[in-house]
């Protein structure tokens, strides 16, 4: 046996079809060109939402799919980032770009602080604590009127703008400009998480998820990695939240709508927890579906509920997990022969 055995070192690359990279580049090119081919601001708006949800879903995928912790705090950090953005730009006079960055860091920092009590006991209590954090954040947004302006929300938020030297300034209030801002931030933050999960750190996260005692016996401190992953997911949520309200132009307590938590969960479950690109694709698909299924909203939610039930019963690993199963089957066959 020579050293040149083509074993997989990055856990993801072996699972995904080989076409991944050309596909990613092609899709990206497509997304860059899309507004010029199809300039409908409705379509542009739906895609902006999809980019924002892709960031949010990638954050949940990191903490749930890779690290194995089901967090309902992501929407809480999403809202926290949104409020941080609003307060920084409106009350703090900070520029929109810097505010997005600070909103991400701020949300990540709060996640870091909450990680310890949340992870203290069990996975069950982690779920409930993170859920409560979102509920508490919503309560705070509604009732701490002096800071958050309460349910009236904070309107007239600025949007980041692009200053191209010589070409003038493009305001992010124009959906077509904001489209590229959202795309750029999505590519940057999702790309960073891609690097993370495919690095040795990502491997350790998966290991902790698969067998926490074994990892501990090998000198890995599970809590340290879990809290760090929770913080990183918090940063992503904060960035997504600030980006979102800079586009909306207003932040109010409905940013904590449980509907977001439900959608986010469906995106990651159907895409497949721990399957990187499938979750990103799933965000795009699920942001488009409500637009295509604009019939009876209750019926749509019943349908989504059934999707969750079916996914939990039949495909707990989602679409992405399906590829992995196939790969496992292939290995078994090859070993038998």
């Amino acid at each position: 046996m020579s050293v040149s055995t083509p074993f997989s070192t990055s856990s993801d690359a072996g699972v995904q079809p080989r076409l991944t990279w050309p596909l990613v580049v092609l899709s990206l090119a497509g997304l860059i060109l899309l507004p010029s081919i199809w300039p409908s601001s409705y379509v542009v708006n739906v895609l902006i939402l999809a980019f924002i949800f892709a960031i949010l879903a990638t954050g949940l995928n990191l903490i749930f799919g890779y690290t194995g912790l089901l967090s309902f705090g992501q929407v809480g950090f999403f809202g926290l980032g949104a409020y941080l953005y609003a307060l920084l730009t409106m009350d703090g006079g900070v520029s929109p770009w810097l505010s997005i960055l600070l909103a991400g860091i701020g949300s990540g920092f709060v996640a870091l602080l909450l990680g310890y009590p949340a992870l203290r006991v069990s996975r069950a209590s982690f779920v409930i604590v993170t859920l409560s954090v979102t509920l508490l954040a919503a309560l705070l947004a509604r009732n701490w009127v002096e800071i958050t302006r309460g349910p009236m929300g904070i309107p007239r938020l600025p949007a980041p703008s692009i200053d191209l030297l010589g070409l003038g300034t493009f305001s992010g209030h124009d959906p077509h400009v904001f489209y590229y801002i959202a795309l750029a931030i999505a590519v940057a933050s999702i790309g960073a998480i891609y690097l993370l999960v495919n690095s040795p750190i990502g491997r350790v996260l998966r290991a902790i998820n698969l067998d926490e005692p074994l990892a501990a016996s090998q000198g890995i401190s599970p809590k340290k990695y879990q809290i760090a992953a929770f913080a990183v997911a918090g940063i992503l949520s904060g960035i997504a939240g600030s980006l979102h309200v800079s586009h909306l132009g207003i932040v109010d307590p409905s940013i904590f709508d449980p509907y977001y938590s439900e959608m986010l969960l469906i995106i990651v479950i159907v895409g497949g927890p721990g399957s990187f690109w499938m979750v990103v694709v799933s965000s795009l698909v699920f942001m488009a579906i409500p637009e295509l299924l604009r019939m009876a909203p209750e019926l749509r939610m019943v349908l989504f509920g059934m999707v969750l039930v079916l996914a939990a019963m039949l495909f707990p690993t989602g679409v992405g997990g399906y590829f992995e199963q196939r790969k496992l089957a292939m290995w078994r066959r090859s070993l038998r022969s």
């Binding site: 939402l49 509604r142 309460g150 929300g153 207003i250």
Partner: protein, 374 residues
């Protein structure tokens, strides 16, 4: 996958484009799902009923009005998406968005699209501040603001003379909070004092605590700013506890008929922009038709939806051409009689000043005590 989705979307738009050719499309963005879906449904019903009536009477210069409703879940995100979606259908104007925060989020979108936004239900004063002079030229509001209603109620309560202290209870939304600041402002100098203010979370099932406090403090009146589910729950528990303080505020008495008939709300008063009991021929006809069509009595939302279409139709008829810009100019010159008997005329901030109705429960029925301008 993405391509398939986009292709499907393209087909969808193509279909929608075809229908938009013949009719005058008016968009409606309102919550059709979520906790306030029932209110949105009423606005939608009211608007549809008005459109039906106008179409049956020959439409606008022979063209039919088509109301396109989109769900906004009372959430700014869905609000923007719903309006962008409506804009694909080339509407001449959009009615919306019931919730103040959604309305505020949608205003710049409509401004960019250069189409009128007709606000009928949202009460936030910021909407008016931002509209008209020096601001958003495309937003018009027909419902009175919180301030107008609160002034009318404050005057009524002060004239009664018997009320000196008020405990305020409201939901922790723009409706409750906005109502509180408007009341506080309106009661200045009337000799009436707001002794406590409580804001509860929407969907709270239990009001015992705040009611116990009120029962102990014994204010002369309780001003309630609650909606739907919570209002019903509050009033039920309020009556269950035999609290002597008079009930007032913005109580949707129309929806509490069983409680009122049971004699449980005697002497309660309320200020509202609309009441089923309003004694004008237009309103009688409206209530009749609404009930026949939808099986329920109309409420403020259905009335405002109905009125929004009427105001738009009136402007469309006067408009030189059927374009959004011409419609806006026509709207500015609106001077029509409302279903309530009041006059709809937009001020510098595109705010109309319809009537405020003070209603009271007397012998198990709702009577309209006074009407005043706002």
């Amino acid at each position: 996958m993405l391509r398939a989705t986009l292709a499907a979307a393209a087909v969808l738009f193509a279909i929608q484009g075809a229908t938009a050719e013949e009719n005058i499309v008016i968009g409606l963005s309102t919550p059709l799902s979520g906790s306030v879906a029932a209110l949105g449904q009423h606005e939608n019903w009211g608007a549809s009923l008005a459109a039906k009536e106008i179409n049956e009477a020959g439409g606008i210069n022979g063209k039919q009005i088509q109301v396109e409703a989109q769900d906004n879940q009372c959430n700014p995100t869905q609000g923007i998406t719903s309006v962008e979606n409506l804009l694909e259908k080339n509407p001449i104007a959009v009615i919306g968005a019931l919730c103040s925060s959604v309305t505020l989020a949608v205003m710049p979108v409509m401004e960019r699209a250069e189409r009128p936004l007709m606000v009928g239900v949202a009460t936030s004063p910021i909407i008016t501040e931002q509209a008209g002079v020096g601001g958003n030229q495309w937003t018009f509001r027909i419902n009175p603001s919180d301030a107008g209603l609160a002034v009318a109620l404050g005057k009524y309560l002060a004239d009664k003379g018997s009320i000196k202290t008020i405990a305020f209870v409201g939901e922790d939304t723009d409706y409750g909070r906005g109502g509180h600041s408007a009341m506080a402002e309106a009661l200045k100098g009337t000799g009436i004092e707001i002794v406590s203010a409580d804001f509860y979370k929407q969907g709270t099932p239990d009001f015992t605590t705040v009611l116990t406090r009120i029962k102990t403090a014994k204010p002369d009146a309780v001003a309630l700013y609650a909606t739907g589910v919570d209002e019903l729950g509050f009033i039920r528990q309020y009556r269950g506890m035999n609290i002597d303080s008079l009930l007032s505020g913005r109580v949707s008495l129309d929806e509490l008929l069983p409680v009122i008939q049971a004699g449980a709300l005697e002497d309660a008063s309320s200020v509202y922009p609309y009441a089923v009991e309003l004694d004008t021929p237009e309103n009688k006809a409206f209530v009749e038709k609404f009930k026949a069509t939808y099986g329920e009595l109309p409420n403020n939302q259905s009335f405002q939806g109905y009125e929004s279409i009427r105001v738009l139709a009136d402007a469309l008829k006067r408009s030189k051409e059927l374009t959004p810009a011409a419609l806006r100019n026509a709207l500015k010159g609106t001077d029509m009689t409302s279903v309530t008997g009041g006059t709809i005329k937009f001020d510098d901030h595109n705010q109309a000043h319809n009537l405020a109705l003070i209603m009271k429960v007397k012998d198990g029925v709702i009577v309209i005590e006074t009407t005043s301008g706002t």
